[in-house]
Amino acid sequence: MEIPNSAVDELARTQAEEATLAALVSQYSGTLYRVAYSVLRNPSDAEDAVQEAFLRVLRHRDTLDEVRDQRVWLIRIVWNIVLDRKRRAKTRPETDDVAELARVLPCGGLSAEQIASAAQHHAHVLSCVGKLPAKEREVLHLSAFEELTGVEIAQVLGITESSVRSRLFRARNLMADLLNHSRSLR
């Protein structure tokens, strides 16, 4: 029995799509997870966001060849998903808890007391970051990723590079004010 050409093409196309998607997942899922986790600070939510990002990629697989920088494109997708989820859920991140931060964050060669103190400090800093305006906070979050350049942060946020710089400058100043204020209150 002869197999029609259309069926062969369809099968080959599906296999090629799956191979491309598998390559993208193995290459970028770690980066996307870290981006998602930095905002959501909840492992399962971050993993869900990564999965949803790849589902969106699958939905728009026809336009995959037109994408110039797949890494930035994927980070932008997951960033939008994460912001949308955070806006909808409005839940307190899991790692705002000091004990959870002490468990999660690396603490090589520190005593238990130092670990607890560091975790308390990090929790305080994160609460101050949460008080920043959204635009400044987003730039500050993304600037923490060393693999993202200023141009790439601008592409992810859909703004110019000079806007990224000015927002980062404002964010640093605001953070310094917030931390000084809380120090003076103590």
Binding site: T95, L140, S143, F145, L148, G150
Partner: protein, 183 residues
């Protein structure tokens, strides 16, 4: 011309400076969180989730058995659809009665061109007061004009035509109350 290393440092300016600058505690904390490794096996879980998710709509192809060489079946199906649609339209057209046009009552033209109520020839006379009467100025013997007293204008009263009002007037004139005069 810039060397590749210079270009790279310029390109990497934001995160590069941020990486070297540890003065900001916020960035230190966020960098610690950003450096946290992804959980193991995330690729497999994500891939399994993507494969399990329902795919988007695809174009359905004809089964091999129902795919004739000439494609006459497609033509027959299209003709059948056209026949059903046209037949249904014809059925509706023949069964539904057209609505009767509304009866129009012809009204005679109005006599008056303007329309509305007529005044029936009545004329409106406005109620007016009697104006002050100015007398002729008198000249004194020495030739100077003397002022003339101006009589005050009497208050205009309506003529009393009714008998009751006349009786009241008579009663008040004779010192009796008007009510007893009516009796």
């Amino acid at each position: 011309m810039n060397s590749p290393s210079q270009n790279a440092s310029a390109h990497n300016s934001i995160s590069g400076v941020a990486a070297g600058d540890v003065s900001s505690p916020a960035e230190t904390t966020l960098r610690l969180i950003a450096k946290l490794p992804a959980p193991e096996g995330i690729e497999d879980r994500v891939m399994a989730g993507v494969k399990a998710a329902p795919r988007g709509a695809r174009v359905l192809h004809w089964p091999e058995v129902l795919q004739p060489a000439g494609g006459w079946m497609r033509g027959a199906a299209a003709a059948a659809i056209v026949f059903v649609v046209a037949g249904g339209g014809w059925g509706i057209y023949t069964h539904v009665q057209p609505t009767q046009p509304a009866r129009v009552i012809a009204l005679p033209p109005r006599a008056g061109g303007a329309g509305g109520f007529s005044s029936a020839g009545a004329m409106r006379t406005p109620q007016t007061l009697n104006g002050p009467v100015v007398g002729q100025p008198t000249t004194a013997k020495d030739g100077t004009a003397q002022p003339v007293e101006v009589k005050p204008v009497k208050k205009a009263t309506a003529p009393m035509k009714h008998g009751r009002l006349r009786a009241v007037a008579r009663g008040s004139a004779s010192g009796q109350p008007g009510v007893s005069a009516v009796k």
